[in-house]
Symmetry: C2
Subunit: 190 residues, 2 copies
């Protein structure tokens, strides 16, 4: 009988010195700057694709968790930055939902618009707001296929109470995608 | 400085005695029977939602990996049966894609049609075929929200060379959903 594999998901070492759990991140731009810095460091340190994400308490700006794209590093196609951030936030809170009765509302801040998988996960995650940097067309220019995301997909989430904000610091987010392209980073479509 | 969480994903103990890696599974029905048995055991043993999945080599029927819904057990909204199966298969093969140059083609067999997240992941996974048991409307009847999946979503995957087969042993798959409903299992939407 073959043994069943066990999956271990860790963030790269450098993440601990890039984030600050001890202070609030105020406003969309400051929160986005963290997501973009995570994406940039992920490229510069050679630990993955040009995508970073963070989960905050909406009202207080308290940082709950972060994620960086880890597909190639951990040989796991599901580990987009947003997915890692959701997993880490839920591990920290000990809950499969970030929308606990009476608890604070949470938001996802991501350096690039979520792909089909991450958009689906956003619905399950319990966040009530999503803030995006680069547009999915920016990612497509690098030949990252974003999957079956349609205008109706965003409408579907909005109809379930999830606010979606596009294009926050898009140029800065985009610059990291271009940095990855210039370095001939792996494009890891299935 | 807060320490960063680490995620560990293991299948429940009972899985090892339910699967057989030593023999081929021949044909869609036999492969689906395994996915349904995994979903059924997951309910009976109380280890998660009524969903099971398996990855096979298409031509030989060799079992590569399995997954069961682990959202509640592991406090992680991303751990649908299909997602766990993809992760386990890629861990076993040591690759983020199941479509290696010159390697065998792989397929996903799932006891219920994939939700938006799992359909997106299907595209990244590298499988070239998906076989579904229960229809997503069957899951919706239990108030599982399947997310933004549209007819165009399936067309999008098909246009990229992924074959999708619906309704294999749908009644048997559906019976497990009903078993879960009868036992008042947790519905874990965000």
């Amino acid at each position: 009988m073959m043994s069943l594999p066990e999956i271990a998901i860790r963030l790269p070492e450098w993440v601990a010195s890039t984030v600050d759990f001890g202070r609030p991140y105020v406003g969309d731009q400051e929160r986005m700057r963290l997501a973009i810095e995570l994406s940039r460091q992920n490229v510069v340190r050679g630990t993955g694709g040009p995508f970073g994400a963070a989960i905050f308490e909406r009202a207080s700006g308290t940082l709950v968790a972060v994620g960086v794209n880890s597909v190639v590093r951990l040989n796991n196609c599901t580990l987009h930055g947003e997915m890692v951030a959701f997993m880490m936030a839920q591990a920290r809170l000990g809950s499969f939902s970030l929308r606990a009765e009476g608890g604070p509302e949470h938001e996802l801040v991501t350096s690039c618009e979520p792909c089909a998988m991450c958009l689906g996960a956003t619905l399950w995650s319990g966040v009530t707001r999503v803030v995006c940097g680069a547009h999915r067309d920016d990612a497509r220019r690098l030949d990252f296929d974003e999957g079956p995301v349609f205008p109706e997909s965003h409408a579907y989430l909005r109809a379930r109470g999830i606010e979606i904000v596009d294009g926050v610091l898009r140029d800065e987010a985009n610059a990291v995608l271009e940095l990855y392209r210039a370095g001939k980073g792996t494009i890891y479509n299935g």
